[in-house]
């Protein structure tokens, strides 16, 4: 028994302290299994993972920016614009009758939109010296406005339906449920690899802690910032493909609720908004946790506005817990070193 305790203390406690969201996720999962009817069914678990997949992709992109000490508000607008433009290409454009042609074109265009907005964000921050907060707030408004305008020009309603059946595979239709999950997992794996193993990732962290030290140490600060803004935009484009395919329509309101959940996933996951601390491993847990809440509350019939309250409280709680844990962690280090 003592041995077990020692093993726990050595191996489990540090992990929990690094990721306080992990025990919370496990407990919530168990609570959901016990108390939420229909939660622990194959159908719902599949649904749960599908719901997580586009959120994971978009949150991974945002994690890069937050780690660098910035923020990207434009991601959910990219999701929306991608969705309506992609749907237009597949359902209404001259290409629409030939799915074999329209689907690839739509996919490329959706990713292209993300890429383009990412480049604009990156250049606004590095060349025009705008804070990312301001730059991406501007693109958020512009891109969302464009999406709504575009939808009203091509459709009578706020959505564009009539997409080709084959496209729904990307949304996990029927027996292809593993496709979006696999895509999301791959995106996550690539992000994890980029941040953990490559020089680009190390630079993201270093610049996130102190851009001036990084500049004097010869790191390409501007290039790195442009690159991670592009990654954030591109991932939002990828997420828009999967979200559109799952919803089976292009909607100008697709990104509305995603905005809150994306930012909540990154922060509740434990990536610090002051930059340099965290990573996509935390964001994965954040996404799984937020989606779990969403899913369970849906099953319980709790409305979106209650969910908003819960999300807000969670963000505060995660900030408090990370503050408490980090200050204590800092304290122990100080204690270990003789010179305080």
């Amino acid at each position: 028994m003592n041995e077990l305790y020692a093993i726990c203390k050595r191996n489990v406690w540090p992990v929990f302290r690094d990721m306080p969201i992990l025990p919370l996720l496990i407990v919530s999962f168990i609570v959901a299994i016990v108390y939420v009817p229909l939660f622990f069914t194959l159908d719902n678990l599949r649904n749960y993972l599908l719901q997580s997949s586009d959120l994971l992709i978009i949150s991974c992109g945002l994690t890069f920016v937050v780690l660098n000490g910035g923020i990207d508000f434009s991601v959910t607008s990219i999701l929306t614009l991608g969705s309506v433009v992609g749907a237009y290409i597949m359902a209404l454009s001259p290409l629409a009758p030939v799915p074999a042609c329209s689907i690839p074109v739509a996919i490329v265009v959706m990713m292209g939109i993300g890429l383009l907005v990412g480049v604009v964000n990156g250049l606004s921050v590095t060349k025009l010296k705008m804070p990312s907060f301001v730059a991406t707030l501007a693109t958020q408004l512009i891109v969302l406005g464009l999406a709504v305008q575009f939808t009203s020009m091509v459709s009578d309603t706020s959505s564009i339906a009539g997409l080709p059946e084959a496209f729904f595979v990307l949304g996990g239709e029927g027996r292809f449920f593993f496709v979006p999950i696999l895509i999301a997992f791959s995106v996550w794996l690539v992000s994890y690899w980029l941040l953990g193993r490559t020089i680009f990732g190390k630079r993201v962290y270093a610049i996130g802690v102190n851009p001036r030290v990084s500049f004097i140490s010869g790191l390409p600060v501007k290039r790195t910032i442009v690159l991670l803004m592009v990654i954030s935009g591109l991932f939002a484009g990828v997420a828009s493909i999967i979200a559109t395919a799952r919803n089976q329509v292009g909607m100008s309101s697709l990104g509305d609720k995603m905005f809150l959940t994306t930012i909540a996933s990154v922060i509740v996951g434990g990536t610090s908004t002051s930059g340099g601390l965290g990573g996509v491993h935390k964001t994965l847990l954040g996404v799984l946790f937020i989606t779990l809440l969403n899913n369970a509350m849906n099953l319980l019939g709790v409305g979106w506005y209650t969910m908003m309250i819960v999300l807000g409280v969670l963000i505060i709680l995660s900030a408090v817990s990370s503050y408490l844990l980090s200050s204590r962690a800092g304290w122990t280090w100080k204690r270990k070193v003789a010179d305080v």
């Binding site: 390409p220 280090w333 100080k334 270990k336 010179d339």
Partner: protein, 500 residues
């Protein structure tokens, strides 16, 4: 009534089981200036943090003016009349002098609003007392470091401080400001205020203090009146061994290859046409008073700032657009004077800091960092530079002592084996032992054929290590003295008056 202001008896303190203060007995008399010296890590900061209520002690007793004293918090210590003056003044630069003075308790009018008149009046009194060249509503950001310190001292006096603890107060002051500070400390002493003066600068301690207490490895290594101890004895007491050599003597040769050549560099009125040549194997000292433009010149040479005019060639290659990245490409390195804001990623691990520059070389074409190589280089640097760190992978840079932090910054650059090395105040805030190690690193680099530009405000260390000393004043070079003609007074005169 005894004449003791503060007495500590058998004070012990441990951090996670490791005792750092082994039962200290320490006393401060009324109205005296007591120097507190010791190497980094000797326990000075721990001791003062205990006195200031930042840290609790494990055992022992403290008496303040013959009353038992057990501070529970820094504000309790302030209330009891203990004030700290730190090396970087703790002032809000966006507020005015008066607002800073009253930041923790504004006097109120009858209606609960802040009493602006009272604030102005009381602040004006304080300003008059030291005849400071400010008005109560000057914003602190427009004040020089010396004046800021005076504001902080005034603030402490306003709160009826009876004991003032100065922690390395002169590091950011110019020579004249330093003189002003010393005068103020004398005045404070006349008023009967007891002063603890912590510093690495031995001459200052001798000039200013009545008694000197030496702390070594968490023990008091002796307290003596200044008249009874020599500088050499003091240093010996600090390091616990005879410091026969303060500067390393290593044979090296200077070749004719010019590694850095700057011609009439100008930048924003701060650097006004400086020409400079560094040869392989040469250590060139750059001396000047605060504001002479030394740091600015270094930043322009390394491309941190863009020069307005002039030519720069490193390794014989003329560089039109210079950035730190370009300079690193030409194998140059730069240690800045501002370790916290420009040198270290303070909240990142020692490993992350060490590999920051070298990493680009340890990366394959896809961008993957070779983790094994990286660890090998880091371990080598830690060994070569004798960096005292328990767990480089997890321990954060800001948990190290000042000397070891600076060694980490050195390690970051030395790993690249730089050919041109620009050092701006590399020994600031570093203890005697670590200073010697840093000089050795510098001289060894030169021995291997690097050119070194060594900027410092300490004339002795330049005389001890350099082959040539260049003097700057008002952004211009006013002297270039070869080793055979080194003369402290003459160099100082060049820096002060622009001629030798």
């Amino acid at each position: 009534m005894s004449d003791t202001a503060l007495r500590l008896t058998d004070v012990r303190k441990a951090f996670s089981g490791v005792e750092v203060l082994h039962g200290l007995d320490f006393d401060l008399r009324k109205g005296e200036v007591l120097g507190l010296v010791g190497e980094n890590g000797a326990g000075k900061s721990s001791l003062m943090n205990i006195v200031g209520g930042v840290l609790p002690m494990d055992s022992g007793t403290m008496e303040l003016f013959d009353e038992p004293y057990a501070p529970r918090s820094p504000s309790y210590a302030t209330e009891k009349g203990i004030a700290f003056i730190h090396q970087e003044p703790n002032l809000f630069t966006n507020l005015t002098v008066a607002e800073n003075m009253f930041i923790d308790g504004f006097p109120k009018t009858r209606f609960g609003a802040i009493d602006g008149k009272a604030i102005g009046r009381i602040t004006q009194d304080c300003i008059d007392r030291f005849s400071l060249p400010v008005t109560p509503d000057t914003k602190v950001e427009f004040l020089s470091a010396g004046i800021r310190q005076m504001v902080e001292i005034s603030k402490a006096l306003m709160k009826n401080a009876r004991i003032m603890i100065f922690d390395e107060p002169t590091t950011s002051l110019s020579r004249r400001e330093k003189e002003g500070l010393f005068k103020t400390i004398d005045e404070l002493k006349q008023r009967g205020i007891s002063i603890v003066y912590i510093s690495h600068i031995i001459e200052d301690v001798f000039r200013l203090c009545d008694r000197i207490t030496v702390l070594r490895d968490g023990l008091i290594a002796g307290t003596s009146p200044v008249s009874e101890i020599s500088e050499n004895e003091l240093i010996k007491r600090m390091v616990g061994r005879e410091m026969t050599r303060i500067f390393p003597s290593i044979e090296k040769t200077i070749s004719d290859t010019v590694l850095l050549e700057a011609t009439s560099i100008k930048w924003q009125e701060r650097v006004n046409g400086v020409s400079l040549r560094l040869r392989a194997g040469e250590i060139v000292g750059l001396y000047g008073l605060m504001g002479a433009g030394r740091t600015e010149l270094a930043k322009v040479l390394f491309g941190v700032e863009q020069r307005d005019h002039g030519e720069l060639a490193i390794n014989g290659r003329a560089l039109s657009h210079v950035s730190p990245g370009v300079c690193i490409g030409e194998n140059a390195a730069f240690i800045t004077e501002d370790r916290h804001n420009e040198g270290l990623l303070t909240t990142k691990s020692v490993d992350d800091n060490l590999s920051l520059v070298k990493m680009a070389d340890l990366t394959n074409r896809v961008g993957v960092v070779n983790v094994g190589e990286r660890a090998r280089y880091n371990r080598q640097a830690i060994k070569d530079l004798q960096i005292k760190v328990a767990d480089p992978k997890h321990q954060l840079a800001n948990s190290l002592s000042g000397g070891n932090q600076q060694k980490v910054v050195f390690g970051k650059w030395v790993m690249k084996d730089p050919k041109v090395f620009i050092l701006d105040e590399p020994t600031r805030g570093v203890d005697v032992g670590a200073k010697f190690e840093i000089y050795s690193i510098i001289v060894n680099l030169a021995k291997r054929g690097s050119a070194v530009l060594f900027i410092s405000s300490e004339i002795q260390e330049l005389i001890g290590t350099c082959d040539r000393i260049v003097v700057m004043k008002d952004g211009c070079i006013t002297g270039d003295v070869p080793k055979s003609e080194f003369d402290q007074e003459r160099i100082l005169q060049m820096a002060l008056q622009g001629q030798g």
